[in-house]
Symmetry: D2
Subunit: 391 residues, 4 copies
């Protein structure tokens, strides 16, 4: 038996549906596992694939009753909106370019939405969804996974509390190695990512650069004023960027540097961030996510351990295991859903929500992420000229 007595309360479930995530899809499975980890919602409806066969098989395996396995997402939105026991929210895990239409449809039918990132292919679309969710008074979440880690939330809390003073410089990076070689036909993920027809204007910044942007913003609250980006096509024959360096200036004068790469041999999923303030610094690495390096001037370097050292109540509320029992990517993902579902449940009970209770990635963040991609591409096309972020 384990040495702690930390206990999760056992809650009753709400219902959700899914668009996308048929057999052969990776990310749909991750969403379902993340939700399943806390048992706060059950999957009762879906439109899993445009292939009727895949759709049916997936529905069957997931124990969805036949009449709630829909051939078309519009039909699903209509039908579920009418049911007394209809879904409380829908998870959209389709390829990026269809996010906008699908999310719009469900919002218009009055159904809450969780959508994979990047939210849309243009920031105009993202802004439209943001406005629509607000107008309809629905809860909308964009699954930027990495902000779900308790140590990330504690980093944010420490900065809010002034632990490192005013922000001066942010250095964040996200190296991977998985596209370091020419993309063959045997890797479908690689093929569609590096194809402008499917991925749009950017591959590397679009996929992982946007995670840097979101993480840095989430932790520090720094808003980008201008940026200068160079997007590189390094591997022979590549049509979209597979490496990028971005210099930033934030409102208020802090500076930043981001690097993302998919050609970095030896890097698996190396998202990390170092934040320097007037009186200290904070460092976090996604591949070692349960720890936080905190430096205060005049004191030795401190290594904070999730579960051992005192985190804020909010960050602590998202810890499931005692210190030294590693929590990973799925727990982080689950925290996004846990917070979202709890907020939804409380909102449906007509209760008002605190900032902590609403601490899941918003469509405004999703819109900001799409804008970031657009601005990086714009700057790079001008030979890394400085571009204003809000223009």
């Amino acid at each position: 038996m384990i040495e702690s007595s930390k206990t999760e309360s056992i809650g009753s479930m709400i219902n959700y549906g899914m668009v996308g995530g048929g057999e052969g899809s990776f990310i749909g499975d991750v969403h379902r596992r993340a939700i399943g980890l806390d048992g706060m919602a059950q999957l009762v409806a879906g439109c899993f694939s445009r292939s009727a066969e895949n759709n049916a098989i997936t529905g069957k395996k997931l124990n969805i009753s036949d009449e709630r396995v829909y051939a078309d997402y519009k039909e699903m939105a209509s039908a579920e909106a009418k049911r007394a026991d209809g879904i409380n929210f829908v998870s959209i895990v389709t390829p990026n370019k269809s996010h906008f239409e699908i999310a719009k449809e469900f919002l218009n039918k009055g159904i809450n939405v969780v959508c994979d990132k990047p939210l849309t292919t243009t920031s105009a679309e993202a802004d439209e969804l943001t406005a629509l969710a607000r107008e309809k008074d629905l809860l909308f979440c964009v699954t930027y996974t990495y902000t779900g880690y308790p140590a990330v939330k504690e980093a944010r809390n420490l900065i809010k509390e002034g632990a490192i003073g005013d922000i001066r410089f942010i250095n964040a990076e996200y190296p991977q190695e998985w596209l370091a070689e020419p993309t063959g036909d045997d890797n479908k993920q690689a093929a569609w990512r590096t194809d402008p027809k499917q991925s749009g204007i950017s591959n590397c910044v679009g996929d992982i650069g946007s995670h840097i942007e979101n993480l840095a913003y989430y932790i520090t609250g720094q808003e980008i004023e201008t940026l200068a980006a160079r997007l590189d096509k390094i591997v022979d024959g590549r049509l979209l960027d597979d490496n990028a360096t971005i210099m930033l200036e934030y409102k208020g004068g802090a500076k930043g540097l981001y690097w993302c790469s998919q050609i970095a041999w030896g890097s698996d999923n190396g998202l990390s961030i170092r934040i320097y303030g007037t009186t200290g610094s904070i460092e976090w690495h996604q591949e070692d996510p349960n720890y936080l390096k905190l430096v205060k001037k005049g004191s030795p370097v401190q290594i904070l351990s999730r579960g051992r050292d005192t985190f804020s109540d909010h960050a602590s509320s998202l810890i499931r295991l005692p210190s030294g029992h590693p929590e990973g990517y799925l727990e982080s993902f689950a925290n996004i859903y846990k917070t979202y579902i709890a907020a939804l449940t409380k909102k449906q009970a007509a209760a008002s929500l605190t900032a902590d209770e609403l601490d899941f990635p918003t469509p405004a963040m999703g819109a900001q992420g799409v804008r970031f991609i657009e601005k990086c591409v714009e700057s790079s096309r001008k030979n890394a000229a400085w571009v204003n972020f809000q223009d």
Copy 2:
């Protein structure tokens, strides 16, 4: 969206019940989450607490129908054994001293059993359960969590393949800090663990030393011939061991050294193992569980990354996420259940099972673990004299 396309097959569920795990219990929650991660079994019955109130509340929150929330485990065993839709297995997550009677009851009723560790309080009881499960042809699993990690399974595979030659020396340790101070009444976990009336003959070896024994045996297959153990009561007023050092000799001549401690300030849950062979070595740390250090003579040190580097088919089959996306304690726990449930499902279809398909901790391992505790205590009482393991 994520960069990999590794997909879990979506399977239909079997039914399980639980004894123990009422509200306020930690480990019951961990078992349920671990099972929930893969969605391969659903909880349909339980006897969660000896408190009628807690039992009822827990059952309600877990959506168990009223007639399958039992006041008594014997009643539960009888009733479920008779139902056509009765549970396929029971998870026993009660305090250690009741494991034996409960497990025996379910086995006698023909129900498969998963039981928390340590299996029983005496090796005689453990041997009896082992024999009973075999006689009844039931699948019995003891949840030694740490052998579920893919990197642990790969370490075992590498050794079987001869990657480091013949085993010469094993150095394993498990330091924690959580009992470094006198046990106050405010920590129930600490209180019962250090109370001989509840924990029996050993605290530190019983709780975490037995994990070392299981891990070392699982990875290397080395059987203990003799051991010399010193169990220390370090914190003032402690009645049971909180620190222990154990020297070992294995059959065939290899040697070993184990250290476990609950007074090691700065250690959260530091289970780790280093194995030295004639031509190389392997090292693994539970707090950094996705990596394996492999040394072959004449070659540079290698760091194997779960998901990036080639693991055996069996170890790979228990990976859920791409490299660099940390998998942790819950995934390891889930792998125990995943393997067990898949084996159960296949066995019920009258198919024969391979060794890999039966790769979950057996009651024989559980019995060996209890014997290990007994022998360490026996040696320590003789001033760390050498005692034969099998006598």
Copy 3:
């Protein structure tokens, strides 16, 4: 006694002199210790300080005979050039702005020169010294310390051998924390470094950015085609840069990113480099200098250990201790001198020198370093516009 039998040959000494390095100087002491480590040269003359008193005291403490403690470096150059037992080389360890005149004087008198970095304050001066040394057929060395580490030399060797294929991207950085607060009068080093009158056009790039440039060039041989640099004055009241980010493009098409900072709380002296090629990568950290991370596609990450793993003959020749016995900064510094003095000795015996025997930092590298500083400042003044390196 130690476990290895690696033995340095014991050589007879040559004579050297020093300009600068009086009592109270740090770097003069480092140079003397570095030379002393191998006992290949003895200090016999000096002009240690413009203070007559300091000069005399230093000379006395270093056991220099009175007539060879000179009040003026010009007098020293003249006198030593005439002596039969005159110095074989001079070490110049004065503040940067006097390097040019002093080095020129000794070269003109036919005396070999070792000079601290940065070599001069303008690249024109540096080019002049380079030409002068060549014309006079004298050996000239600029003490870029960090290229003396055996692991750095092995990194260079591995790249030459094609271990990681063609270079694609270089990411190098050099964070420090020592200027993170406004410079007070109590820190003389900080005061002169951040004073444009003494440090010239750049502080951070001039001091540590130039080490990045040299290290990256030394290891990879990549020549800069263009760069875009942003030099930041982050601490209030600072007149020169204390942080800088630089994007680069090398001849042949590889890209790069450098970051140097003196406001990075928690960083002591964090020079590090990651080099990505078509088939692998190499990583090295100055604060852990005895190890090298080598990744080859399709293979696990390797950690090469200085002294344990096979390095080239040349790199191996600069190892003094067995593996696991840490060699540090002084040994790296000593390797610069060891190579230089051995080359000098051999050259004086009229022997021809191999490339490995001439493997110490040249004035051409010194000139390139000064140009790098100039170009970074030029780009930054143009708002981080791209500037050609050779214009």
Copy 4:
């Protein structure tokens, strides 16, 4: 130029001689470099080898005048004792078995002695030397290298100051890999170490186990009450131990565990120590010697950096470089000599010495080290029975 202004004072030299250390010897060279690092003593006499040719060549290369290159150490002791400019101390770097006779000879002639470790082959001899040095009022130093690191001295200081409370448990280890294979004739070091005729009663404990004992004693001051040791001969055909595990009990009740090994593939020179007290812990690794891990209950783990964080005045006085500029094995070795030579100089000026000024390893420590080896062998021969340390 470097960023710090820490300056070593430049002192005038004293004279020393050496017995052993002819060409082909490793450790003699290390001693000379260590002394040379600070330039506080000059080598003026020697008896470097029993081979007349080697002796002459070594003397010549080291610039020793012919009449002070002695064929015999007794002759050397007599002659130097009579000279007005005779040596102030002798360094004995011969094989272990001759240490006793040589040290005795020099002490009897009134010459101060530095001797390599292990001091002698029996504790009786060591006790005799200890007494003789005291009687003659001479300074005697045994070169236990690893206690020279500033971080080790700071660990000792922190414990003295009560930073971790009362000592409860010490876990120290020293794994190496260099004897993991049968000893061939091509490795002279390995051959003599594993030969009982040359190494006496123990190889692994004698060579590296004794470093653990010295380090643990030096840092904590804990005196061994009893120990139980198992010395293993793991590699086929080995006549002496190449691996050992030792359980200890200290006076006052603290416990300990030591492990040393020469068959640990992947370990270069892995001396490390973890010390647990009532209120905290300290951890240090020789291969990363500039850092110290300090844990205080209720606070995050701290990583202390040599040169950055505040060390005691005494530890600080032995730092030569700013933080982040790695100091290594040679600097540690040099600190032993630096302290010894400074003490000698001051003593010769008839000044009294403080405890810090006498902080070099004494012959009493040397005697204790030899006793440790004897007791480990005694216990192991009794099947790891507990033996009293002082009997």
